[in-house]
């Protein structure tokens, strides 16, 4: 039996492996877990399928009398964003949570003792993968719905103002949701608890705060919701709309992006603090 690759090597390596190697490792782990691959397929299937459903039922549910790019694009992105935000967030939770539940966290941190390197690599891989899946989803949804909407003169082109921004915004939002999930998963170290938090933040809280009595507190809580930021990032703004209006609850594309980035960043920072402080 041969144990050594290079017999009798006594050299102590002096080169730290590049961060791209850690990214590569996380990339391999990400795509070798069936549940995560299934999740990505789910984003695409529910996103495209939901949008197609809105397209084929357009006539029976009442065709808008006037062309509105905002309305058409909402039909394209709504299922990708509403269902996709939960799946992307759960994928993020799984990326770190499954390491704790399976025990693979130990070889992971033995191989890369710098814990923040591991967390950054996980956030980047999950974020990029979910953003790409999101981009593919909304673009496909637009492509399959365009011939249907064209029958009623309601179709939008990629050159229509705001359309590309909304497609990119939806994809970016799913990427940010996944990064938020990575942060939450690192914080709670449980796939169940992490998934519940993702569900609450993206879907339940935005609905819950909309039920609060009207006032400055409820208005403020409303605009800071992650789910509402996603809504803003996947919607075409009216021309001349304000950046952020607390009283009407209007969130522009830019403000929504900022809010979603903040949520992802706060979750990752909280996760990083816990990861550094606690034993593996």
């Amino acid at each position: 039996m041969v144990v050594t690759a290079q017999r009798g090597r006594m050299d102590a390596p002096t080169v730290r492996p590049a961060f791209v190697h850690v990214l590569h490792s996380e990339w391999i782990k990400f795509f070798s877990l069936p549940s995560i691959v299934l999740g990505l397929a789910g984003i695409i299937l529910f996103g495209v399928g939901g949008s197609l459903f809105l397209g084929v039922t357009l006539e029976s549910s009442g065709v808008p009398s006037e062309f509105s790019a905002e309305r058409t694009m909402a039909d394209v992105t709504v299922s990708a964003v509403v269902i996709g935000q939960i799946i992307a967030g759960v994928i993020g939770v799984l990326v770190i949570g499954t390491e704790y539940t399976s025990g693979s966290v130990q070889p992971t941190f033995v191989a890369v003792p710098d814990r923040l390197r591991v967390l950054s690599a996980k956030a980047i891989v999950a974020g990029v993968a979910c953003a790409i899946a999101g981009a593919f989803t909304v673009f496909t949804a637009w492509a399959v719905n365009t011939p249907i909407y064209a029958q009623f003169g309601l179709d939008v082109q990629l050159t229509t103002p705001g359309v590309l921004q909304v497609l990119a915004g939806s994809a970016l939002y799913l990427g940010l949701c996944s990064m938020f999930g990575v942060g939450v998963g690192t914080l709670v170290r449980s796939t169940t608890a992490g998934s519940i938090i993702v569900f609450l933040a993206t879907l339940v809280f935005p609905i819950a705060v909309s039920l609060l009595p009207f006032g400055i507190v409820s208005r403020f809580l409303r605009i800071i919701q992650l789910g509402n930021a996603g809504d803003a990032m996947s919607r075409i703004n009216e021309v001349g709309a304000p950046f952020l209006d607390v009283w009407t609850g209007h969130i522009s594309f830019g403000a929504g992006s900022l809010i979603a980035v903040t949520w992802a960043a706060l979750a990752l920072i909280a996760g990083a603090v816990v990861l550094q402080a606690k034993d593996v």
């Binding site: 390596p13 590049a18 850690v22 390491e99 693979s104 033995v110 003792p113 034993d279 593996v280």
Partner: protein, 304 residues
């Protein structure tokens, strides 16, 4: 080379590892023996940077593990048999670990071959036995061809063939000049595998030295004799320091008098001995003596 200095781990009021010092040298297999809960795994996890010490340091080749530039090329560790995701294939599990150090697929296939998992490399880990999981962990530990190998209870779940194989592997790694630290709660395993021995109990080092010296220092050889005339032999060997225990089957166990002394005393008294043998202390006896009288033997034993 592993150096542990004043290493301490407390969980609230509970002290898991209590200010321990030891050095693990290259070229030999060092056993780390102690009962479950003695602090073995916590110590190993602190060496590997997974648990933060409350106080003290643990260094590999003069550096804290956290400061090693390419840790897998210096240290390989098998800390927990169940450390791979059940849904992933063995190959992808090891490939992902290898990727962190830019180690390629060829080396991954090679280490899987070394541990005898090449035929199941593309199967999911969920279907693996405990022994196969141990082999998988060992494959990951060997990836970077490290000079230091740390194995926590590696024989758990291995079949007899696997145990013989791992003993041979540890011997070979040590003979190549590597540092090998092997923890176990199994004394038979230690007796078979280890040259050096560190005994830990309740978070403290109870003994540290060459295995035979550790055993000799806390046990005494016993002369076992058999005679039909045990009453007269007891009288014949009686002395202040001599202890005689009567066993079944006309057998006596005599401590503090060597075989020659016993034989001469018997001859002088005209007692016929049908059997006489010197029994060296076993690791088991040593271990019981160490853990029972912890305070008495808390100092270093052997080559310090």
């Amino acid at each position: 080379m592993i150096q542990v200095r004043s290493l301490t781990k407390r969980y609230g009021a509970k002290v898991a590892v209590d200010c321990i010092d030891f050095t693990v040298k290259p070229g030999v297999v060092t056993g780390f023996l102690g009962p479950n809960g003695a602090g073995k795994s916590t110590t190993l996890r602190m060496i590997m940077g997974l648990d933060r010490p409350t106080a003290g340091t643990a260094e590999v080749n003069g550096h804290s593990y956290l400061n090693l530039l390419a840790p897998m090329r210096e240290v390989g560790a098998l800390l927990d048999a169940r450390s791979a995701n059940k849904r992933r294939t063995a190959y992808k599990h090891v490939l992902a670990i290898a990727a962190t150090h830019g180690i390629g697929a060829a080396r991954v296939r090679e280490v899987l071959g070394m541990v005898g998992l090449d035929s199941v490399a593309d199967k999911r880990v969920g279907g693996f036995s405990l022994g196969m999981n141990q082999r998988l962990g060992l494959a990951a530990a060997l990836l970077g061809d490290p000079q230091t190998i740390i194995l926590d209870e590696p024989v758990n779940g291995l079949d007899p063939d696997g145990i013989l194989w791992i003993r041979g592997l540890l011997r070979q790694l040590a003979s190549e000049g590597r540092t090998v630290l092997l923890s176990s709660h199994l004394m038979s395993e230690m007796e078979q595998s280890a040259d050096q021995l560190i005994v830990i109990g309740k978070g403290s080092i109870l003994a540290d030295g060459p295995l035979r010296e550790v055993v000799a220092s806390v046990t005494r050889p016993v002369v076992r004799v058999r005679t039909r005339d045990s009453a007269r032999l007891v009288q014949a060997v009686a002395g202040t320091a001599v202890t005689v225990t009567t066993e079944a089957d006309d057998t006596l166990e005599i401590v503090n008098l060597d075989a020659e002394g016993v034989a001469q005393a018997a001859a002088k008294a005209g007692v016929v001995l049908t059997e006489i043998v010197t029994v060296e202390g076993s690791l088991e006896d040593a271990y019981l003596a160490l853990t029972a009288e912890k305070t008495e033997f808390s100092g270093k034993v052997g080559a310090q």
